[in-house]
Structures are given as structure tokens and as C-alpha cells.
Point group: C2
Chain length 414, copies 2
């Protein structure tokens, strides 16, 4: 079974808004064994949307669209869909009652006429009530083609998909399961890794696909097996990964989780550690990455963003003469930040970052893109130097955050 | 002139990797007045890529692709393009020398045979040397159709686009300029806003488009004017925005910048303030948002992520009996966090967040999605309550970070 995802919105096309709906929907569809064929973003224009539907239905039985059904004038999706499916828009009293109730809850007593239009649905549609916004979702099916029409706001899309996808997919009687494992490898360049794994890769069975996904200088090997029985797929991948272990064992930092912050959680919980963070160049993103994991409050004590140099001394107890002689971007300051942080939060492990995110150099004329990462444990302090002059500010902050957690895991696994 | 962006990669289709290349390329193309027609993501298969090119070239003269040209086995893009354009792949000695130099710089003395394939280019292509990776970019043109073939790694794509786009676009003799302004509105629901602005919107000239982009509970009104002379477009939009000011002036928190963190920078610099942050439920993301802005080091002193309850007292001086009687998620604790933070960092303004990100409730059984944001200034402390039970953990953290900066701006503008 193949599906396409259609993102409707000029703001995404123009690069002004980052689409996150397609990734979420794709992940949910994959759980049901649905192959994603195309993700297409087009403008909010009737003829364009009709062409897009035609293109997607060439290869897909199911198209899920998001966006273009709000109450404002820039929304043409409903007209396009009704023309494409040759169906009428009719007033739905159930949707209207739901809208009234929603407005009542939000204390907007005056139900605006404009929102009345949101109770207009396709005459033969199944309506998916939207508890978090005014535009309902709709499912419309004709001649083996099914469209699921959703609003564009991600927090409305997520519950609509989670609650309704099982029912929507029932008609396809899916019996293929997908099982995915991600193995994280560090310390081998991609082409070298591919060479080492060549024979192993050639022996993977036909139902198994392999992707190389570089993230920072970690390479994620994503193995996906498909077949009728999930438990067999699980065993099968476990076997292939055990073979991988014999080939590149010391370079593997994670064999289950995909995200570095989730891999860290497993390592920290296994060793019963607690963690604190002192950040300069990552500006809070490193803490943000750690705390994005549910359950992180059981091991993450907290962090300091010591952005101004003086705060590194005042709060983290970095020696002023170390800053004066080595500058804030130095292995010495990174180490003292990590050590000061470990004491401040009384954690068993701590990690610190200091660097020059750019686009301007710092007051010491350190080169843009230079950073030091320090990890402090009861065994001592380790420092890693990174220099990435080609990243812009935000990418640099994200990359160093990823790299910091990767370094932390490597230190903890030694 | 219309262009499409083609993202090639199973990992994006499967939702495993978030595509950020398309947004970046779209923004760069828009600067040159190029309309983006379609953004299409497809699988790494020869026939699929050929269909995708055919679809994009139906309406676009230019297609920029990313991904699918790495050294590993999952890459089929080059074959597809060579078939589509009926061209050969030939060995390019210039690219090969560049590769050798790149490997020398990285101290990988052994130039792997696998990477030799990356010096295979289309016989009639213009090669774009890639300083940050092994796969070069290429430009190929035939019968009025131009394809720009780029690698998939974002930090390789960005410089390749920035350095080469002007030359690539020269052939189109573009004389249409685009000028965009974003006005940020708070405190009016979208449908109500649309009603208030209806007459104003109807009077916008034909060369001007308007989009409503809700972000959290801020609505961004994006106005784009196109025409031959940028300065005239600027004047024109300035006029329309001055009309907007008379209609909804008190609800406008920014008239130039798009991102809330950039709007904040303008407000803070105008008032010569300094800022610090105390975070609980946003876990570092709020600091990360503030520091993502270049130049933020001139006003951002730093932050504390006081994740564990005890750290709120130890570092931020929140009274233990306040925590005991009101719980950590309370207006009282938010206020004391902000006040303690302002003293710790000696900043003129501070902001604090505390809440329950979920998916589990906290130890006080506060409801998931409840949060308090406090802003402390020399004039006193203001608190805002937010309750969003329908967001997942990461969305909640991001939403509260956005909302916190929005609240801070509102307080500072009063």
C-alpha cells in the first residue's frame, strides 16, 4: 500500500515556515506498513492542488493533505478537492454544533460568520472532529482513491492522525509489518564504513533495506525489514546487528535508539548517573536536547548557560586568570566549567561547551567555529576540540550539542 | 521564473530525517524573485526520480535537487539524471584533484576507490566544487530545462547555493524583485483578525499577497509585493503597514522581523536592557532561542536550567516553603525564579518558565500542559498562565519558549 503526503501552503514553499507535518505523518504511516511514495508541497491554488492530487494518485491509493483549510482568504483547498472528487460542499450541522461548543469553551461567545464556512464539508465525506481548532478533518473516497484532508497546524494534525489513522487504514487490510533498527556508529568516515560493511551488506536478504544517515560525525545505519510477522523481523535484524557488532563493535555507540539524546538516556540509566550541563556556545540547546526526552528529570539535575564571561567565574567558579591567559574558548576553561558545574549541581557527571558560534569572532579573536567540549566525572575530565568553520550560527549550535552528547557517551562507555 | 526543489532520500520520506534544505533553498531563490512551484520529496530510485523530474519540469524551468549522490550504495540520483537528460557520466580530473586535496587536508591518505566514483560527472555539466564534502554539485541544461544537482548534507548545500546561485540564475535575466514584510499580531484570534482586516485586505493592490501564519498564539501577517523596483515595493508595503497600524496598532508586537527572538532583540536593544533566563519546563530551549540570534551576547547574560526542584532553591533562591505550599508549577514559584535569576545574573530583565511538559504528570499531580511564565523587571514581576494539554513534550517546550518571548515583549512594550 502506497500513500503520498500533500503539504499545501505558500508559507512552506517560500521557506518561511518549516513543514513538520510530513515527517510526523510519514512515521505514523510507516508504523502500519504503508510505503510513502511522495511528499509534495504546493501552493494554495485550485488548479495547482488538482494537478498535485492527480500526480500523487498516479502511484498512491491514499493521499493525506495538510493545510489550506483555515477560515482566512488564502485557503483554496476545499474548492480544489471538491472539484477533483466531483463532490459538493454541504453544511454539516454536527460539525457546526462542535464548533459552537469549541467557541463556548474558549469564551468566544460571538460565533463569527466566517467560521460558519468551516462547517461546510464534502457531501460524502467522513468528518474527523478537530478538538483543537476550527477546521475539521475529512476523509473522502472515490474509485479507489482516498484523500484525508487535514488542517495545517501541527498540534491539530497530530491528534487527528493518531486518533483516526487506524480506522482510515482498515479498508486496506494491511498485512505487511515494518521493523526498523538504527545502529549509531562513530569514528569511521562514511565511505570507509561502506567498504568495511560491503560483504555484510551484500548478504542482507531482499526484504531488508539499509540506509546511511550521517548526523554530525555520527553515522546512523538504519535497517528496515518488512514481512508478515513482526517478531520474525525483530529476530532477523537482531542477527544482522550481531554480525555488525563483530565487524565494528568498538565504533557502535547505540544499537536501539535513533536520537543521540535517547541513546544517552539508556547509557546514563544503565550506569545510574546524574547529569548537569554548563553551556556557552550552545546557548541552552544542549540542555534542551537532554530535557526533550521524557523521563530526563530522573537524571538531569540542571544546567547553566554562562554566556557572559563574568558569569563563568561567578556561577561556575572558572578562575579569572585562566580566562585572561587562555581565553574563554580553551580546553582549560571548558574543563573548569564542567568541573564547576558538577560541583554546583552535585551531579555525578557534567558536560560543558565553549566556542565561537559566529558570524562574528569573539573578543579574543578566536576563530569562528572553534569549540571545546569537556566531560567531568569522578574519574577526571576529558576535553575534545572541534573546529567547524563552515556552519552558520544555528547549525553550529545544534552540531556542537549533538557532538557533545556523542562525546559524553564515548567517555561514559570507556 | 519558476523553480522546483526536489528532495531525494528515503530517510526524509520515512520521516526519519527532517528536510531543512528545501526551506533554505526556497528562501535563497525568493531573494532573486524566483517563484517556488513545487517542493517534492521522492525515493532514491531511478524511475521515481525520472518521473519526479518530468513532473517538476512541467511547470518549472529550473529544478534544484538535493541528496542521493553520496558514495554509498543507496544512491541512484546520478543514473536517473543522466538518463533523463540523455547524457553520459565521465571522469573529471579537476574534481578528482579536488577530492585528493580534500582527503589530504583531512589526513585520510588512502583515497578510497569508492570515492573515485564521485569524480564521475555529467559530460556536459558545470561542476560546482564542494569544499565540505566529497560529492560535487553539478548544473546541467538542455532544451530550456536546467537541473542543479546537489548533495544532501545541509552544511554542504548552504555554501554551494550561496556561492553559485547568482551565476546559475544569470541566464534568466530576472527583473522582478520580491519584497516581504512580516507583521506580528497578538491578542486577536485569526478569524476575528480576518474580519477586522477585510476592507484593508481588499484594497491591497494586485502585486501584493497576504498570508496569515499562526505561530503559537501569535499571528504573522506576511505581505509580499513584487515588481521591478525594490525601493518602490518597500514604500508601498510601508504604506499598507501604516494603515494596519491604525486598525490594530496595540496588538502589533513587531513590524519588521519574522522570528520572535529577532523581534525581542530589537525591543531589548532599543531600551538598552540586559536579560537572563531561568528555565524549568522549557529545559534550555528558551535560552537556545535567545542565543540563536547573532549579537545576543551583547544583552543576554545567561541562564539557569533549574530542572530539579532543589536547584530552584539552591541556585535561584526560591523559598522552600513556597515550593511546599504552592508546588513548583505555580505563579509564586515562577515569580521567585524570575526574581532570583535577575539577581543572580544582575540583569535588568529576567524571564522564568515552570510547567509540566508531560507525557507524565509531576510529583504534585499538576495537570500536563500547565505552565507559568514570569517576567521580572525593576517595575515588578508579571506572570502569565498557559494551559495546553494537547501538545507533545517537544512541541510544548517549543510553544512555551515562543510564548515566553512573546509575553516578555508585551510586558516590555507596556
Amino acid at each position: 500500500m502506497k500513500a503520498s503526503i500533500l503539504i499545501i501552503g505558500d508559507e512552506v514553499l517560500a521557506g518561511a515556515t518549516q513543514d513538520t507535518n510530513s515527517g510526523f505523518i510519514a512515521l505514523e504511516l510507516r508504523k502500519w506498513g504503508v510505503d510513502i511514495d511522495r511528499i509534495l508541497t504546493v501552493s494554495d491554488e485550485v488548479s495547482t492542488i488538482k494537478q498535485a492530487l492527480e500526480f500523487c494518485f498516479q502511484t498512491s491509493e491514499l493521499v493525506i493533505s495538510t493545510g489550506g483549510i483555515g477560515p482566512t482568504k488564502d485557503d483554496k483547498t476545499k474548492s480544489a478537492i471538491s472539484q477533483f472528487f466531483r463532490t459538493e460542499l454541504v453544511f454539516d450541522s454536527g460539525t457546526y454544533s462542535h464548533l459552537k461548543e469549541l467557541f463556548r469553551q474558549r469564551n468566544r461567545l460571538e460565533l463569527l460568520e466566517m467560521n460558519r464556512g468551516q462547517a461546510m464539508v464534502f457531501s460524502d465525506a467522513q468528518v474527523l472532529l478537530n478538538r483543537y481548532g476550527t477546521a475539521p478533518g475529512q476523509v473522502i473516497s472515490k474509485n479507489g482513491r482516498t484523500a484525508v484532508v487535514l488542517p495545517g497546524v501541527p498540534y491539530e494534525v497530530k491528534p487527528l492522525i493518531k486518533e483516526n489513522l487506524p480506522t482510515i487504514l482498515k479498508r486496506y487490510g494491511l498485512n505487511t509489518q515494518f521493523y526498523t533498527r538504527t545502529v549509531s556508529v562513530v569514528g569511521i568516515p562514511e565511505s570507509k564504513l561502506a567498504q568495511i560493511l560491503e560483504d555484510w551488506e551484500l548478504r542482507l536478504p531482499a526484504n531488508t533495506t539499509l540506509s546511511y544517515l550521517p548526523v554530525g560525525n555520527r553515522i546512523k545505519l538504519r535497517l528496515t525489514a518488512k514481512g508478515p510477522v513482526a517478531m520474525e523481523l525483530e529476530k532477523q535484524l537482531e542477527y544482522h546487528i550481531s554480525m555488525l557488532q563483530t565487524l565494528i563493535g568498538p565504533n557502535i555507540i547505540g544499537k536501539h535508539k535513533d536520537k543521540i539524546e535517547d541513546i544517552l538516556k539508556d547509557v546514563i540509566l544503565e550506569k545510574s548517573l546524574s547529569l548537569s550541563v554548563a553551556e556557552s556556545c550552545t546557548g541552552g540547546l544542549l540542555s534542551g536536547l537532554i530535557t526533550s526526552v521524557s523521563g530526563s528529570s530522573s537524571y538531569f539535575k540542571g544546567g547553566v548557560v554562562a554566556y557572559e564571561a563574568a558569569q563563568k567565574s561567578r556561577i561556575l567558579n572558572v578562575q579569572e586568570h585562566t580566562i585572561a591567559t587562555c581565553t574563554t574558548v580553551s580546553p582549560e576553561v571548558a574543563s573548569q566549567m564542567a568541573e564547576g558545574c558538577r560541583h554546583l549541581f552535585n551531579s555525578s557527571v557534567s558536560i560543558a561547551t565553549t566556542g565561537v558560534a559566529g558570524p562574528l569572532s569573539d573578543s579574543y579573536n578566536n576563530p569562528i567555529g572553534l569549540a571545546y567540549i569537556a566531560v567531568s566525572t569522578s574519574q577526571g575530565t576529558s576535553v575534545e576540540k572541534v573546529h567547524l568553520s563552515h556552519l552558520d550560527r544555528e547549525d553550529f549550535m545544534r552540531f556542537i550539542s549533538q557532538r557533545a552528547l556523542q562525546f559524553l557517551i564515548q567517555v561514559l562507555q570507556k
